[in-house]
């Protein structure tokens, strides 16, 4: 502000000069081609594009209400976790043996690091003056390869997840028990549990009214796998996500275990 006109006048004691600049648009005839001012010419068109997008967006919103599954339950071992779709490609990569276990660093740091680091540093890696994609084959080729990889991994993750999902459904409600030893036997709807079982409301919460399974595994044929002492032990001490000490009375546990061991 050192070189102000000697006879500049200011608004009061402020630094704003009293001389007004006219608020008019310059002529665009000097610009090459069909340049136009941002306001209002171009912004009007941009708003039209935005309005079309907004309509599409609202149709999507109204026709597909956003999903909400059951309240988070840390004990639900049957829930197959799935990240949001735009993380699927990273998630899928970690499932492959070459990027998991001992090699997990490759999947979590090295590959994403190189990919995103390279992308971030693209202006310094691709320094040629050419801007056409065909004139910089390395940059274009790498980007296309990365795109194919990302699309493939996303597809593979989704494919695997939906395959798992249908396998789970076919394998009975208890299918998600995963590593738990109780077999994911298909639930038998005609099976009716003994009164001994029906008295145990805390068991029914997870294993179902007729032992058909739910959050916990199906127990309708548990006797085929475990004998009475083993069952009693599971009831007493819990197993996996199953809490210990749900039944306090030892005699009651013994009776129930006896009954369950008879189910084959």
């Amino acid at each position: 502000m050192a070189k102000l006109d000697k006879d500049a006048t200011f608004v009061g004691d402020s630094r704003v000069t009293a001389k007004r600049i006219p608020n008019i648009s310059p002529s665009y005839s000097d610009f090459p081609g069909k340049n136009e001012p941002f306001w209002p010419n171009f912004l009007l068109k941009e708003w039209m594009v935005a309005a079309v997008c907004l309509v599409g967006f609202l149709i999507l919103t109204v026709s597909h209400p956003s999903p909400l599954t059951d309240k988070a339950n840390p004990n639900d071992t049957s829930f197959v976790p799935l990240p949001d779709w735009y993380f699927l490609f990273l998630y899928q990569m970690l499932k492959y043996p070459w990027a998991a276990g001992d090699w997990v660093v490759l999947g979590t740091i090295i590959i994403p690091g190189i990919a995103f680091g390279g992308l971030m540093l693209a202006p310094w890696l691709d320094t040629s003056k050419d801007r056409r994609p065909s004139k910089r084959p390395v940059a274009t080729g790498l980007m296309l390869t990365a795109l194919v990889g990302v699309f493939y991994l996303t597809w593979a993750a989704d494919h695997e997840h939906s395959a798992n999902h249908s396998a789970n459904k076919g394998g009975g409600a208890a299918g998600g028990g995963g590593s738990s030893a109780a077999a994911p036997a298909p639930a038998d709807t005609s099976f009716t549990a003994d009164a001994l079982w029906k008295a145990q409301t805390s068991c029914m919460g997870c294993h179902g009214k007729n032992m058909e399974g739910g959050m916990g595994p199906n127990l309708q044929k548990i006797g085929a796998q475990l004998d009475a002492t083993q069952i009693a032990d599971v009831i007493k001490n819990g197993k996996g996500a199953m809490p210990a000490g749900m039944i306090k009375d030892d005699a009651e546990i013994a009776k129930l275990a006896e009954y369950m061991a008879s189910l084959k």
Binding site: V16, T17, I21, P22, N23, P26, Y28, F31, G33, N35, E36, P37, F38, W39, F42, K45, E46, V49, A50, C53, L54, F57, L58, T61, V62, P65, S66, L68, T69, K71, A72, N73, F79, P81, L82, P83, D84, W85, Y86, F87, L90, Y91, V104, V105, T108, L119, M120, A122, P123, D126, T127, D130, R131, R132, P133, R136, A139, T140, M143, L147
Partner: protein, 223 residues
């Protein structure tokens, strides 16, 4: 009347240069879909911003009902979804908008990449753009937990396990995000704070830088 009000403010604050700068920056022919339809690829940046604005607005309305604690979070989202007038639409816009913003940003990034627009002198704007990309992914990750349903809980648990497997800093990052040994009350509070305060703050700053740089450099020329 309006003119008088404008003149009154202009006399005191000299806003005309700012206003002319905003209104008069020229839009070149090669980015204008009205002249070349293929120029619609230049719309993705603007659309990303448009959806970001929708995200901010719908998010502000969501916080009017959302309660960030593990007892009430799920119930408040359920109430919002099923009981509140237009709640299902506002939540739907925020939910689907989160995906759309990633899509638009992805397309915008590809446009900039394949037109070589990141080259000198626009290197810094490319870097800021990449940072915006990461902030958006962070917003997606933290926002996913907030409904506190099974999808959210288990996805976050897996995500944090992945973070934990990173050598050296992994366990610290995980501890910073979970705020304890389990994914629980502390985690939800932290994700809420990060999603609603930290990342949007960073995002606004980066967007400001992004736009100031575009304004001072102009849109890259035709290929």
């Amino acid at each position: 009347m309006l003119q008088k009000m404008y003149d009154w403010v202009d006399e005191r604050l000299n806003i005309t240069p700012m206003w002319r700068d905003l209104a008069d920056h020229e839009v070149p022919e090669h980015v204008n879909p009205a002249h070349h339809f293929s120029a619609f690829v230049y719309c993705f940046g603007g659309l990303t911003f448009f959806i970001t604005v929708i995200q901010i607005l719908s998010g502000m309305f969501l916080t009017m009902y959302y309660v960030p604690d593990i007892i009430n979070a799920y119930e408040s989202v359920k109430y919002l979804q099923n009981e509140v007038a237009f709640g299902v639409i506002v939540r739907g816009m925020h939910h689907w908008g989160a995906s759309l913003v990633i899509v638009m940003m992805f397309l915008h990034t590809l446009r900039v990449f394949f037109t070589g627009a990141y080259k000198k002198p626009r290197e810094l704007n490319w870097v800021v753009g990449m940072l915006i990309f990461f902030v958006m992914l962070g917003l997606g990750f933290t926002g996913y937990l907030l409904p506190w349903d099974n999808t959210a809980y288990f996805a976050t648990k897996v995500g944090l396990e992945i973070a934990n497997s990173v050598p050296l800093i992994g366990p610290y990052v995980k501890m910073l995000l979970t705020g304890g040994d389990i994914v629980g009350a502390q985690t939800l509070s932290r994700f809420f704070a990060i999603h609603v305060f930290f990342l949007p703050g960073a995002l606004l700053g980066l967007l400001g830088a992004h736009f100031v740089m575009i304004r001072s450099q102009g849109i890259s020329g035709p290929l």
